[in-house]
Symmetry: C2
Subunit: 309 residues, 2 copies
Amino acid sequence: MRAGLDVGGTKTDAVAVGPAGEIVGRVRLATGWGADAVVRTVLDAVAALAAEPGLRGDVITSLGVGIPGQVAPGGTRVLHAVNLGVEELDLAAAIEPELGGVRVRVENDVKAAALGTYALRGRDGSMAYLNLGTGVAAGFVFDGALWRGARGTAGEIGHLSVDPGGPVCRCGQHGCIEALAGGAAIAARWGRPGALPVRDVFDAADAGDPRARRLRDGLAHGVAAAVRVLVLAADVEAVVLGGGLTALGDRLVDDVRRELRGSAAASSFLRSLRLDERVEPLPTGSPAAALGAALVGASFDPEEALAHG
Amino acid sequence: MRAGLDVGGTKTDAVAVGPAGEIVGRVRLATGWGADAVVRTVLDAVAALAAEPGLRGDVITSLGVGIPGQVAPGGTRVLHAVNLGVEELDLAAAIEPELGGVRVRVENDVKAAALGTYALRGRDGSMAYLNLGTGVAAGFVFDGALWRGARGTAGEIGHLSVDPGGPVCRCGQHGCIEALAGGAAIAARWGRPGALPVRDVFDAADAGDPRARRLRDGLAHGVAAAVRVLVLAADVEAVVLGGGLTALGDRLVDDVRRELRGSAAASSFLRSLRLDERVEPLPTGSPAAALGAALVGASFDPEEALAHG
């Protein structure tokens, strides 16, 4: 059994993957805060998987962990996972001895979700996964493989400015895609508490609140801009939307498609790209990120790692 | 000898490439207007290469042609090469019988220049070539191979809007990168005749003309936005600037680097990417596009083409 984990800010999703890439078991549990608690969460998740009916007695052959942070070259160490309270952690070094030497590999959670989404969609063509969560970032799968870029930051399009007159971004620029479409930026500007502030924004916009309408329009504008960047720059066949904001379902996706159709109406060039047809939501509760992490863990070849130091 | 041609709007650059990828001959001639004249230009260029001292008697084994238009799948047919007066032309069908069956492959000129630039830079890392000519478009080389995308349009970033309040683009949108940084768009807004209107704009800006200054600032803003898109989306190690506008040399490159440093001063995220250091100009008169075309022609495997129809 190949195990894959998606360690999120509040919960951890764990899957066991069979020989043909099929998901043979799945558990979810709360994520702990800080490096030690994250290590504990990973071990608990693996133990919970191994205790699943039908998996008892199966040996874990590899473990991949998707994590919301920067992953250092080599794929064992995570940096700046601020939503987990982790500044730096060598997850492989902490976990491998506890699992009897099973190899552990770490991947950025958005990249893991991109790879898992690609597998769930039938491994066809080139694709971008656009994560709409606290922040905004994308992952690319080209010809079946993750495209990480020269320094591992491919897909970090959240901090592209698409409007010099737009809201200030936490990064210091104005009108970044993330300042318009990031959950944290929208919540900060909305300024009212709530479990999913962006849902409140949508409800208030439906009720006619002009400030909520502007925020909601800005979200659609930001996501549409991200879709244009992904398709015009990388010519991906599909842009799959995932992340916390997609809990809004069709309300969000319809807004984005409407915005893309609006810009296509003004531009024959954009019209020819059929951007609205390339956008699709990841189903809520999809195990894409955990599955992608399992694939990253399983694809790692220890002999190659030795050869490359 | 492997031959490569860059068929431009006014002149055609032709190179002969030796076994180790080195350029062993080069000729330049005027490009004809319209499909028949373009075919004639290609044949004349090949004949002129073969007549070069040191190349006489060498057999041409392959021919690649870079052309400013859309290349249909299969790499033999060019569409919408408006600057050559060509709406549609099967260049391979027209040329191959005249060259005794030597295989001919066509590539978009920007993608050919990207591949040639990569070869001239020592085949290292991942790279984008950003063409600043009549329009604005880029080509990517990842791990030594051209990245064409799902439909062959990867790198068409000229029509990304980076300012909803910016000038109207010929594509119908506002504030496209090409509306700010394309030679044709700048010339149209400048509205005065000249061989290289953008040079007049730079001179007038130096002399204090406020309208010229705005155009010049817009050019730097548009190119800097393109560099950000290429690096944030695809995480390329280097962005090489080429195309007609780079005849402005350091005046253009310094403006672009200054703009990138200005945005980095406002954003620690951008600062961490060191964008100004990733930008470099292609030397004026570089044979990159013709060399890249030669590499495309030489790399074509006829058996694989048969297998894929």
